[in-house]
């Protein structure tokens, strides 16, 4: 009797697995035929690919000063944009977190998040141009809203990963909602949240699409323009500088989090 039941459950679970697999194959197949991939083309294009990379080198170091000036500009915008965005993201993330907020409120916060993510950077840029005109101010504001689309989501993930036992203990001890957030969640979320924020800072430094629209310049924008202007070796200089920045921020981030955890 028991064995039959176990066997039956086994069959059900296996056939469910099979159906999921079959569905996956179908979906991927459907997507593949939509791509109309031409296999033969790939082979004879290897020289083209090599040539493309070849044309990126050597970097034209004469534009190093342009690159550094553009970088400083972007760092300034990114610093403020990321900070404002991060501050605005916190309440949205808290209101979207499954382990903190009742469902009805959560849905509206999630919808807000999705809406922000849906608006493309060009629309954000244009909106702030109509507010403050072309330039760094519009760029900073557009970055800060753009940032919300990411950080609210990431903060939410971090909050949802918090140890539920410790939260339960505080709640049962009569702590208010904001006290639980301050004393229970913040210390646990801080290292991961800091990592995400620095990641976003770095992302915003690289971002060309937001800043390019509003003419706020910056290193990403110059980089894209060099590529568009067929000046590949100048673009390579920009990329090398960016790699340096990305790596430093990455290093800083892991160092800071290490410090936080050792505290």
């Amino acid at each position: 009797m028991k064995d039959v039941r176990v066997k039956f459950r086994w069959i059900v679970s296996k056939s469910k697995l099979f159906m999921i697999l079959a569905a996956l194959v179908l979906v991927y197949g459907w997507a593949l035929q939509g791509l109309k991939i031409n296999g033969t083309l790939l082979q004879k294009s290897v020289p083209h690919m090599i040539d493309f990379i070849y044309r990126l080198f050597p970097p034209d170091l004469s534009v190093t000063d342009v690159a550094i000036r553009a970088l400083i500009e972007t760092v300034q915008m990114s610093l403020w944009g990321t900070t404002i965005g991060a501050v605005l993201s916190v309440p949205i993330a808290v209101l979207s977190a499954q382990n903190l907020t009742p469902d009805w409120l959560r849905w509206s916060a999630t919808l807000l998040q999705n809406a922000v993510r849906t608006v493309p950077s060009i629309v954000l840029g244009l909106f702030f141009v109509s507010a403050t005109g072309l330039g760094a101010t519009a760029g900073t504001l557009a970055l800060s809203i753009y940032t919300i689309g990411y950080l609210a989501k990431f903060y939410q993930e971090a909050i949802e990963a918090v140890d539920p036992e410790s939260i339960k203990a505080l709640q049962v001890g009569g702590a208010s909602w904001s006290q639980v957030a301050q004393y229970g969640i913040l210390p646990q979320v801080l290292p991961l949240g800091l990592g995400y924020t620095l990641y976003m800072f770095e992302y915003n430094i690289r971002s060309a699409s937001v800043l390019g629209v509003v003419g706020a310049g910056g290193i990403g924008f110059e980089l894209v323009n060099y590529i568009r202007g067929f000046e590949y070796s100048k673009a390579t200089t920009m990329m090398l500088l960016l790699l340096l920045v990305v790596t430093s921020i990455d290093f800083l981030s892991s160092h800071l989090r290490h410090q936080l955890e050792k505290l």
Partner: protein
């Protein structure tokens, strides 16, 4: 929007009056970051400096893309803008700005107008026919590489022509006529697609058939299947908040760029050699017409 061009919306109109009443104490000129233009800010600053000495008032150069330039004019955040003909029409509609100068380039066949061309490989079975309709009819089911959906010569005029010949309903239905539609992202991209055999025909502007877009050797492999003339060149738009006298001074200051001493500034920036004064409505009429045919707003 069905509003008549010059009076955009009431808010802008009233604000425009108050601002012009205060008389402008600075001029903000937008230099859009066109494809291929690098270090725009530095070059634009040089032009702004020239304008400032000519006009004896502060002139600020700001960068932004074409759309943003129009939004800035509309939001009274800029007074002058270098614009493409498409954007110039929109700027008139939204902000009441008008195009007063057009850019001339030596490789424009019409001076301040140029041709939009359909290009095929030399060995293509497609042959030019005298009748425009027959000529375009052969493209049914073919793979085409347009430049980009916002390009005048690389999309709007070609599509307008296709609509005029009754082959395509409007710009959103282009895919139903051709076998496959791709966008090269710029002239070079579209031409490369034809050169590499990934597309059978490309729609670009006439001056794209030489360096820096393609090499002379590549140019040898291509021929023009069909051409549409009269694509209006880009130009300089000035907002209606700028009083007529100041506008006149701005125009003559800008035309100082035509002088040999300053001409390099202009050429460096957008590759054009001269700014000629034109009539907004007449210059942009072909674009207006093509847009209407393509089914795009206004």
């Amino acid at each position: 929007s069905t509003q008549p061009p010059t009076s955009s919306n009431p808010v802008a109109a009233t604000q425009g009056q108050t601002a012009s009443a205060n008389s402008l104490n600075q001029l903000r000129v937008v230099f859009p970051s066109r494809s291929g233009a690098t270090e725009v800010q530095t070059k634009a600053n040089a032009i702004a400096a020239l304008l400032s000495t000519e006009l004896k008032m502060p002139v600020i150069a700001v960068i932004g893309d074409d759309t943003a330039a129009v939004e800035a004019l509309k939001a009274e955040q800029a007074e002058v803008a270098f614009l493409s003909s498409r954007s110039a029409l929109k700027a008139e509609q939204l902000a009441g700005s008008r195009l007063y100068l057009a850019e001339v380039r030596p490789d424009y066949s019409g001076g301040h107008t140029y041709r939009s061309v359909f290009v095929v490989r030399n060995d293509s079975p497609l042959q030019s026919k005298d009748d425009a309709k027959q000529n375009l009819e052969q493209l049914r089911g073919k793979k085409i590489a347009f430049t980009s959906p916002t390009s005048g010569s690389g999309f709007i005029f070609p599509v307008g022509d296709l609509v005029k010949q009754g082959l395509v309903e409007n710009r959103d239905r282009v895919k139903e006529f051709f076998g496959e539609v791709t966008y090269g992202n710029n002239y070079a991209g579209a031409l490369q697609a034809v050169l590499k055999g990934q597309a059978e025909v490309a729609a670009v502007s006439e001056y794209a058939l030489k360096a820096p877009y393609i090499t002379p050797a590549e140019s040898q492999q291509l021929r023009i299947l069909h051409a549409i003339s009269g694509v209006p060149a880009h130009g300089v738009a000035i907002d209606d908040r700028v009083p007529a006298d100041l506008r006149g001074r701005v125009m003559s200051a800008l035309q100082k760029l035509n002088e040999p001493a300053n001409n390099a500034l202009l050429k460096d920036l957008y590759n054009s050699t001269e700014l000629v004064s034109i009539d907004h409505t007449r210059h942009l009429a072909p674009m207006q017409n093509a847009l209407k045919q393509a089914g795009m707003e206004p």
